[in-house]
């Protein structure tokens, strides 16, 4: 099998989100490989170790720094990496992103048996790109997978958690799978593997390399646009109601009615 694993460079989970005007203040942010994508890479590497897969290609679209996320995927065990980076990509929404990723798959031979994604990226948190890629390629998909069995050349059996139970899907390959927490325990990239990752190929494509016109991506090629960012209101201090039970109840009711107007 040939597996594509999609990797996004996202702010570290400990990032303190700050704004500069109505834009994100990105200064001082440290970036990591999206934690859900780590599940995807790990799953692919396990398939390779089980001799079910021959090649794992890690793919990312993003600014130059996304290289680091790709190196991480290489250190976990991907064979090679592809980064699409181009100033014109700035402002691309999920659909524009999905279109670019589809082009990358074509460019890389189009012969992938399995497309693995994290179920969501912890920054944008849209959950959309994998399904859009599946739709554009007309491939079957299973999202939020917690267990996966693959028979190369034939099918994948994916288990999803749903309320009150599990849903088991059988998909013919090629298929899109998005990975959830619980699917596996990603390994730490060992120091020797980090060193080996440095020597693995990492190809960079611009839009031109992929035959994409700048108008199809970025703000112009997107159907949605981020107008501004706002921080959630700071949590105010709690309120303590004290006194005899009757007084407390009366005051609480008054508070719920008049101040926060929920009853």
């Amino acid at each position: 099998m040939k597996i594509a694993v999609f990797c996004k460079s996202v702010p570290d989970t400990e990032t303190k989100v700050r704004l500069k005007g109505d834009r994100l203040d990105t200064s001082g942010i440290k970036y990591i490989l999206n934690p859900y994508d780590e599940f995807a890479v790990e799953e692919a590497v396990r398939m390779k170790e089980a001799k079910k897969a021959e090649e794992i290609v890690a793919i990312s679209m993003g600014p130059a720094r996304a290289q680091e996320a790709l190196r991480n995927a290489l250190a976990i065990g991907a064979d090679r990496a592809v980064l699409v980076t181009d100033d014109a990509l700035d402002g691309s929404d999920t659909l524009a992103t999905a279109k670019v990723l589809v082009k990358v798959l074509e460019k890389e031979g189009g012969d992938f048996d399995l497309l693995l994604f994290g179920q969501r990226a912890i920054d944008g948190d849209t959950w959309q790109v994998p399904s859009q890629v599946a739709a554009l390629l007309d491939l079957p998909q299973a999202t939020c997978t917690v267990a996966l069995e693959v028979e190369p050349g034939s099918k994948a059996v994916a288990t999803r958690l749903v309320e009150g139970g599990e849903e088991i899907h059988e998909l013919t390959l090629p298929a899109v799978i998005t990975c959830s927490k619980g699917l596996n325990e990603p390994r730490y990239p060992s120091l020797p593997n980090i060193m080996k990752a440095k020597k693995k190929p990492l190809t960079t494509y611009s839009l031109g390399d992929l035959g994409i016109d700048a108008s199809e991506v970025g703000k112009n090629g997107s159907r949605t646009e981020v107008l501004s960012y706002e921080l959630p209101p700071a949590r105010g201090g709690g309120k303590k109601v004290e006194g005899e039970p009757e007084e407390v109840v009366a005051e609480l009711v008054k508070f719920l009615k008049e101040e926060i107007k929920v009853i």
Partner: protein
């Protein structure tokens, strides 16, 4: 990467160029990845099991150690030829820092193994010894240890009594004696044991701890790092094959001391990791804990503590990696296949012995300060075992004692510098004489530049002159007998330590300004000003006491008037403003955020 070689001790004479100074802002992508693996492993696998480790669950401890081995965390300094990674010193120190960021006992186990337990073989072993031991030490299959100390030979390590006698058939050395306080003794497979042959010739041996005649004392009940193993080793007619002799008979002490240099330096770096963690705990607690209806982090005195803790950590980090850069530049030129490798490695380590001692002292004392203030910020809860502050405080304390007490290291600093000067490796005396001539007409204020940090730059230059002046006068007055003037030497050592510390912070800040502009260096710059504002007056005080220990009467008065000229031009910075700005940022970030 530091591009050119800076010789050890030269900071006493001149400032290195920025090009030659490595700063943590320059870590490569690969180095950051190494760091992340080490940090994630420690925080996800080790720290959650801290209570069990502290309760001496040795099985768990060893299992975690092996896991660290599988991740390659033990092989940074081992050459590729012996299945190691042969990493540059900056990478290996960064890994060290992260390994030491979470759990003190585990950190000591690993540091002892990768440092003084492994390096004697890596640097001084024969080809056969390296092939036999290094791959397994690097993978964690074997655990190493180092036994120098004896009950009657602690600081006085040359006074060891353990004896090694060559067997009649010439195949073995027979070892007899006892070693005290051996870290990892309870876990280790092998131990580098130091003994004397023919009464007075020091020698080092690789001893298999399963050998007949070896027995262990009970675990010490320690103040801190309770999960680590510290036991005595008794050697009763232990047969050690001659091929396990490390280096030459008569040179064992050189192995012991040179390896300790690296050990000291690693210890300082380890303290950097621990400082950052302690600071993070302190600031998060200060934000959560409310008194008088507001978080305690809003109080000026708590802010001041946080600002001071952050500043010390910054200075330590700057000095640690500056030194890593120097050592790396020298080490990267060495070839492991060179038959002279051992000697050259010894020279290379010896070259920076002064810097290694400085980092050891500064690091262990910075950590004590940070851990102590962490307890204070936690208040009564800091005194209970419920919170991590109490363990930080206990675990910190050992660092001032092992790998040469801070007193011994304070003696070593001027001692080594004077030796280098005598050997002509460091033109200290000509510089001191030149200074003595020009100092009468010398006008510091006229040298004050105008850029940012001009004052700090001048303070560093003046501290350099003060070091030279005190060292020169002390050497002139006491000559050979200077080594007996401990109180004077301690002051000289402290002046030199502060010179290195202030200058490291300054150089790093300047380099960040040069690379990324003044805005990017806002807090670097604040911390440099804050540190100098504390250290420079302290240097003045130390120098005054030192001068008064050298001369009396009119000579003293003349010397003091020169000293005053060197220090009194300095205008105090607005501490309150700077500390508040720094603390507010730290309170927002809730951790040491610079790199």
């Amino acid at each position: 990467m530091a591009e050119e070689k800076v010789k050890g001790g030269t900071f006493l004479l001149e400032s290195p160029g920025l090009k030659e100074v490595f700063i943590p802002e320059e870590f490569t992508e690969e180095q950051r990845m190494f760091a992340k693996t080490a940090e994630d492993f420690i925080w996800n696998e080790v720290v959650p099991k801290s209570d069990e480790i502290e309760a001496k669950n040795d099985e768990l401890h060893i299992q975690l150690f092996k896991q660290a081995g599988e991740l390659g965390l033990l092989m940074a300094d081992i050459p590729e030829k012996y299945d190691g990674l042969g990493l540059d010193k900056i990478s290996s120190m960064l890994v060290q820092e992260k390994i030491s960021s979470g759990q003190g006992s585990f950190s000591v186990t690993i540091t002892d193994h990768t440092g003084i337990g492994t390096l004697p073989i890596a640097y001084f072993g024969t080809e056969e010894q390296k092939q036999k031991y290094l791959p397994k030490l690097g993978s964690g299959e074997l655990i190493g240890s180092y036994a120098l100390t004896e009950t009657n030979a602690g600081s006085d390590a040359m006074g060891i009594k353990t004896k090694a006698v060559l067997s009649e058939d010439g195949k073995y050395y027979i070892l007899n004696g006892s070693k005290q306080f051996v870290t990892n003794a309870g876990f280790a497979d092998i131990c580098i044991v130091y003994a004397k042959v023919d009464g007075d010739k020091h020698a080092a041996f690789i001893v298999d701890l399963k050998s007949e005649g070896i027995s262990l004392g009970p675990e010490e009940h320690k103040m801190g790092i309770r999960g680590s193993s510290t036991r005595a080793i008794f050697l009763d007619n232990v047969k050690v094959p001659v091929e396990n002799l490390l280096g030459e008979v008569g040179k064992g002490h050189l192995i012991a001391f040179n390896v300790l240099n690296i050990g000291r330096y690693k210890l300082g770096v380890a303290c950097t990791g621990a400082c950052k963690t302690s600071l993070g705990e302190a600031v998060r607690y200060a934000n959560q804990r409310s008194q008088f209806g507001v978080p305690i982090s809003s109080f000026g005195m708590i802010k001041e503590k946080l600002a001071d803790m952050m500043t010390r950590t910054y200075v330590l980090e700057s000095a640690s990696y500056r030194t890593a850069g120097f050592i790396d530049a020298t080490f990267s030129e060495l070839d492991h296949d060179d038959p002279e490798f051992g000697k050259k490695a010894m020279d290379a380590i010896g070259e920076y012995a002064t810097e290694c001692s400085i980092i050891k002292i500064f690091g262990s004392e910075a950590l004590d300060f940070v851990a102590d203030e962490t307890v204070q910020i936690f208040g009564g809860y800091g005194y209970t075992e419920e919170y991590p502050a109490e363990r930080f405080y206990r675990d910190s304390r050992i660092n001032r004692i092992f790998e040469g007490t801070n007193e011994i290291n304070r003696l070593l600093i001027p001692g080594m510098i004077m030796r280098k000067a005598m050997k002509g490796e460091l033109p200290l005396l000509p510089a001191a004489q030149k200074l003595a001539k020009e100092i009468m007409t010398f006008m510091p204020l006229s040298m004050l530049g105008s850029g940012p940090l001009a004052q700090e730059e001048l303070a560093v230059e003046m501290t350099r002159k003060i070091s030279l002046m005190v060292a020169g006068l002390a050497a002139q007055k006491y000559k050979e007998a200077l080594k007996d003037q401990q109180m004077l030497l301690a002051r000289l050592a402290d002046i030199i330590i502060e010179l290195y510390a202030m200058e490291s912070a300054l150089l790093r800040t300047k380099k960040v300004i040069e690379n990324k502009g003044e805005d990017a260096a806002k807090y670097h710059s604040i911390m440099t000003q804050l540190y100098v504002s504390q250290a420079f007056p302290k240097v003045g005080q130390l120098a005054q006491e030192a001068l008064a220990a050298i001369e009396k009467g009119d000579m003293l008065k003349t010397n003091l008037s020169v000293l005053r000229k060197l220090i009194r031009w300095y205008t105090p910075v607005s501490l309150v403003e700077l500390k508040t700005t720094l603390a507010d940022k730290l309170i927002e970030e809730e951790k040491y955020w610079l790199v």
